[in-house]
Amino acid sequence: MANVTMTINGKQVSGEVESRTLLVEFLRDQQRLTGTHVGCDTSQCGACVVHVNGDSAKSCTMLAVQADGADVTTIEGLANGDDLHPMQAAFRENHGLQCGFCTPGMIMSAIDLVKNNADPSETEIREWLEGNICRCTGYHNIVKSIKAGAEAMRG
């Protein structure tokens, strides 16, 4: 067992983990941050995407001990109370989600895209989403949401 300490959504937390414990298990099972989802076991679906030190990362593909000392943001850390992050608002306003299961990963991934590319084209958005699978929306409204979210983030 190892002790890890990290900042999650602005709050410092510590916990005992096995060396094999995944970051997503630490988030979901120990921190009860269940907004980060697990949709596969081969690092393909992207439902578990969080931000680690500001960059998107698949929390199913990272050990909790690797995040020791890191600054982690999950979907729960984006909104300020009822005040949604522009990307969250854009997904809601553009019907960018149906069952909602892939949505946290999609939003976290989209924010990282816009951080690096403030005005992504449809092609760039679609290529960026290669690591996020959605089975409900056919991606049409996700692409539309990210376009709108990027515009809102540009302000």
Binding site: E76, C99, T103, N141
Partner: protein, 791 residues
């Protein structure tokens, strides 16, 4: 139409929790003192279990129990909910589907043992230590092989591996029509096996309260009452008042979460045995091996035409794979949900279908988005294109020539259905215009100049959904009713709870169902809460599948709301000292016509619960009404889907350059949600046509058993779509709605494949089996191979 009423694109109420990660899915629930289960599954497709040694697993850290079939000996097998009667009144063969394998395993992934431990990792570690001694048996994987040579029997009860041999239609009349035909087109095709792949893996948590004797099962289900009925009455013999099924937020279903699965019964039993909650969450690999698969037909279809291209007759011979056991609704899919749609949009006077269902050592196959109708639409829209090419008739003109005309409705097809309404030209014409069909040849030429092969394809579909009516379904073998329920509970201060038997797992009921009530009662949508998924709260309901939520559940809700208005009108009349006949209800206010007397809905609600001035001798207090609605007929959405593709002959790579859908769903409650349903369906259909395939090797190992191997459509595989709709209102429900959930997946596969065949026409291609992968296309283009040889 108001901003929040019927017909408005109201933003979804549920999204405010989902975008913040505040949804509550089953795996997000953790109970006090909970244990964790891992299922030990068969690595073999077919084997005898000689022995199971639990000792090492039981001795492992944290393990509290290891259960095998003998622990479930007191219980029944998993029931099948639909009995098909074959030729000569022969009922289908229905072998036992045990909760855990009894002496034999019949597919890779068949559950054999359950390890329960304090933590999931302890359970997983210990699962490795369960020592099972198997003797492998020959595996039956290929359906043709299973039925023709029967190298082994999957079940002793079916030595020839045949579950049923079923037919529909007048074979003699069809054969006679073929004798006289000017032209006969023949097509052999495969409808590829798929894995539904809802993004949320299945999960079940069993809990037992030994004080009250009540079981609770938290589960990823599309229909909690169906699970309560099947598991309570048929498997575990738990009386329904002691069994609560709760399906909270569910992350997609597409059919795969209709069925009663073994894990639900296992967790329910284990929780009582251990007197502790037991949780199981599937991982994706496990989902590939244990969620019901889909489609998997091998078909020969023939179309007879006269010299003008009028369809004279259609006949189909299909082999349908049931997998190793009969899943809940499996037998109904290739029969009553498939062959009854073979008329399509056309006036084909006689039709015959023969469907033979086979047991194989593969995962059970059941309904998946469209369920039988995609298979019918695919073979029909493919053979129409092939016939057009063979006869030198324009493929649009051939379709138009055979359309059922608007004045022919209600239209009795030769395969048991009566279409109540439709207008196929009304969806064809705008689809052709939107996709610039007429100028396509210019785009083909332009692409050719760039060295690309461009093709366009169309599919004109009709489907039957809004699954019900109960009496017809019952006559066809359904072992359950197919109505839907709704309760409207008006609270004393005027807020409203709607308790619905429908279940939302992405469809947006919390919004669209609230729109119906808001529209009818004139109250703010924010004061309406939709409650679903919990059998301890909602009236008995049949749940969500077969695009039935709005057409059955929505109508039940509309009817219950009408009952509220009826009673509230009487209360309002009393308050205004008027006759109920003189009271009108508009925009949430009751008025006496021709006077200035008025009382708002909220005052009436309060009066119903504080009945100080109330006609108690005539009317009970309270304002809560329930309706159970059983439709008179299926609903029949229809439409035209058009796909345009471009192929790079050097690589076989294919790009969908445009895709358009014009659908007729009848009246639309929330156009934004309906368009979203179409988008999602289109991509699942494109997935089947171009990417997805559940491939088994000859030993029964699933080769495409992960997202590394099973090609799920990604965002960069598909385009943005254009979608519109035309309306012919359903004639037999008060909302005039038809259902939109499955249409995208039904109409799109033949549109895509017709486009691919069109692009490859200069290579002599008349058919290509799904999925039309770059490798298949490259082989055709570069090796002059036929599509079949490229298989």
């Amino acid at each position: 139409m108001t901003e929040q009423g019927i017909g408005a694109s109201v933003l979804r109420k549920e999204d405010f929790r989902f975008v913040r990660g505040r949804g509550k899915y089953t795996d997000d629930i953790n109970l006090l003192n909970q244990t964790h289960a891992i299922i030990v599954r068969s690595p073999h497709a077919h084997a005898t279990i000689n022995s199971i040694d639990k000792a090492a697993a039981l001795a492992a850290p944290g393990v509290v129990a290891v259960l095998t079939a003998e622990d479930f000996a007191a219980f029944g097998g998993l029931p099948c909910g639909w009995q098909v009667i074959g030729k000569g009144e022969e009922p289908m063969i229905e072998p036992k589907h045990p909760i855990l394998a009894e002496g034999k395993v019949r597919h890779v992934g068949d559950p054999v043992a359950v390890v329960i431990a304090e933590t999931k990792t302890q359970a997983r570690d210990a699962a490795e230590l369960v020592d099972i001694d198997y003797t492998e048996l020959p595996a039956v994987i290929d359906m043709r092989e299973a039925l023709q040579n029967a190298p082994a029997a999957v079940h002793d009860e079916a030595a020839d591996n045949q579950c049923f041999d079923w037919e529909i239609g007048d074979r003699a009349a069809v054969d006679a029509a073929f004798e006289k035909a000017h032209h006969v087109t023949t097509l052999e095709l495969i409808n590829n096996r798929l894995v539904p792949n809802a993004m949320e893996p299945r999960c079940a948590i069993g809990d037992y309260d030994n004080a009250s004797g009540e079981h609770t099962l938290y589960t990823t289900s599309q229909n909690p009452h169906v699970i309560r009925l099947l598991m309570g009455a048929f498997v575990l013999q738990i009386p329904e008042h002691k069994l609560r099924i709760y399906a909270p937020d569910v992350g997609g279903g597409f059919g795969s979460k209709i069925y009663h699965y073994a894990e639900e019964a296992i967790m329910t039993v284990a929780a009582k045995v251990l007197e502790r909650p037991v949780k199981w969450t599937s991982d994706r690999t496990e989902a590939f091996l244990s969620d019901a698969h889909a489609r998997d037909h091998i078909t020969k279809v023939e179309l007879a035409l006269d010299a003008d291209g009028k369809f004279l007759a259609l006949r189909e011979f299909t082999l349908a794979n049931m997998g190793a056991y009969l899943s809940t609704f499996a037998p109904s899919i290739p029969t009553y949900l498939h062959a009854t749609l073979l008329a399509g949009q056309y006036t084909t006077p006689v039709i015959y279908a023969e469907v033979k269902a086979a047991f194989t050592n593969t995962v059970p196959v059941d309904a998946y988005r469209g369920a039988g109708r995609p298979e019918a639409t695919y073979l029909l829209e493919r053979i129409v294109d092939k016939a057009a090419a063979e006869m030198g008739i324009d493929r649009i003109e051939l379709r138009r020539k055979n359309f059922i005309q608007p004045d022919q409705f209600p239209y009795d097809t030769p395969v048991a259905l009566t279409y109540d309404t439709g207008d196929f030209e009304a969806t064809l014409a705008p689809a052709l215009a939107a996709s610039k069909w007429d100028s396509f040849e210019e785009r083909r030429k332009e692409a050719a100049q760039r060295g690309k092969l461009r093709g366009i394809g169309i599919s004109c579909y009709i489907e039957a959904c809004g699954i019900a009516p109960s009496n017809i379904a019952g006559a066809l073998g359904a072992r359950a009713g197919l109505y839907e329920s709704a309760t409207v509970r008006v609270n004393p201060t005027g807020s409203i709870q709607v308790l619905t038997g429908s279940h939302s797992h992405g469809q947006g009921h919390e919004t669209s169902f609230a729109q119906i009530v808001a529209d009818k009662l004139g109250v703010d949508i924010g004061s309406i809460e939709i409650v679903h998924g919990d059998t301890n709260k909602i009236p008995f309901g049949m749940g969500t599948y077969g695009s039935r939520s709005m057409a059955v559940g929505g109508v039940a809700l509309s009817n219950a709301t009408d009952k509220i208005i009826n009673k509230a009108t009487k209360i309002a009349a009393h308050l205004m000292e008027a006759s109920a006949e003189d009271v009108v209800f508009e925009d949430g206010i009751f008025k006496v016509a021709g006077t200035d007397k008025a009382v708002p809905f909220g005052d009436v609600a309060l009066t119903a619960y504080v009945p100080h001035n109330y006609p108690l001798e005539e009317l009970e207090p309270g304002l809560e009404e329930t309706s159970f609605y059983d439709p008179k007929n299926f609903t029949f959405p229809s439409g035209s889907h058009i796909c345009e593709v471009e192929i790079d002959p050097a690589t076989g790579e294919l790009e969908i350059v445009a895709m358009h859908a014009t659908d007729d769903f009848g009246n639309v409650i929330n156009p934004m949600i309906v368009e979203g349903q179409v988008h999602g369906g289109l991509v699942q259909g494109i997935g089947q046509a171009l990417f997805e395939n559940a491939a088994y090797d000859s030993s029964g190992q699933l080769l495409s058993g992960s997202y590394m191997d099973y090609c799920m459509p990604r965002a960069d595989d598909v385009p943005s779509f254009t979608v519109d709709h035309e309306v012919t209102a359903c004639t037999h429900n008060v909302l005039g709605v038809k259902g939109c959930g499955e249409a995208g997946a039904i109409g799109s596969p033949p549109a895509v494949i017709n486009a691919v065949v069109d692009a490859l026409r200069d290579y002599g291609v008349t058919h290509i089996d799904m999925p039309a992968t770059p490798a298949k296309i490259w082989n055709i283009v570069n090796q002059g191979a036929t599509a079949q040889a490229a298989e």
